[in-house]
Symmetry: C2
Amino acid sequence: MKRDMKKEVFREFIAREGLKSTRQRDIILDFFLSSKRHMSVEELYRKLRARHPGIGYATVCRTLKLFAQSGIAHEIHFGDGQTRYEHLVEGEHHDHLVCTGCGAIAEFENKTIEDLQKDVADSHGFIIHSHKLELYGLCAKCRK
Amino acid sequence: MKRDMKKEVFREFIAREGLKSTRQRDIILDFFLSSKRHMSVEELYRKLRARHPGIGYATVCRTLKLFAQSGIAHEIHFGDGQTRYEHLVEGEHHDHLVCTGCGAIAEFENKTIEDLQKDVADSHGFIIHSHKLELYGLCAKCRK
DNA sequence: TCCTAATTGAAAATGATAATCAAAATACAT
DNA sequence: ATGTATTTTGATTATCATTTTCAATTAGGA
Ligand SMILES: [Mn+2]
Ligand SMILES: [Mn+2]
Ligand SMILES: [Zn+2]
Ligand SMILES: [Zn+2]
């Protein structure tokens, strides 16, 4: 369903751009779509390597970038020097709560906030193409 | 006024932490406080070097970090791989509009958004310690 | 199948920041 | 003012994630 939709979107991207469908890209895509969200490249690579030792780190990096370009994934930077990716379909959007204690990540959407962002941008004459809202703090567990 | 207040805060930090007041720290602090906001370390270093060729890059990095620790400055990451700093006094806060066309940065505050962030955090059992809200798009000029 | 262009993986390069370390500077106690 | 322990500096080197390079491999159309 969602999963196959993303695979289809990527397949079309590959075709449109004159790229090639390869064994590695298929494997990485399958693995990525069935993995937990917000994994760092390193983490994803380590886990992937367990099943597919032949796939190189450079290929993983390159392929994740392609996923982002194709629109089925999004690059995330939480400020720890690691690039993370999460898969999402066109039109999906959410922001993040990040626990600085245990690293837990919660997702949220808030239409009112987004509307207010638009107001802010309007009042400055800006057109918003994207935004990033991250709330850093302690999750319920880590508050003790 | 504001400027001397920040210098005073840093002076107290230096004393409290058992650090030493040095010529380099004074020069960098003066330069930083009178520079435009959101400068990258590299940019600040280049401009500083024009007047003070003897000061090393490592010292600039270290000193800016100290400013952040002391509370008179804030580290910013706009996702371009460059660390930026801006000076602000305790209690000051604002978020950013970033023009992806010309790099212009506008600052804004929105109490309603911050309140809604608190609500979101509450509903997830989180306590917020900090947050990052950045709106990316085109400024009035760059929209054409 | 053949051919060409794209892709791969290992290794090297990159780029920003951090660590190292001998020499210099600072803050105190005398 | 002088000595002295400690911190700081700046040049250099290391780090670390990501990107680039490039020869070998692979994909996919003719
Ligand atoms: Mn997410
Ligand atoms: Mn600012
Ligand atoms: Zn937590
Ligand atoms: Zn602009």
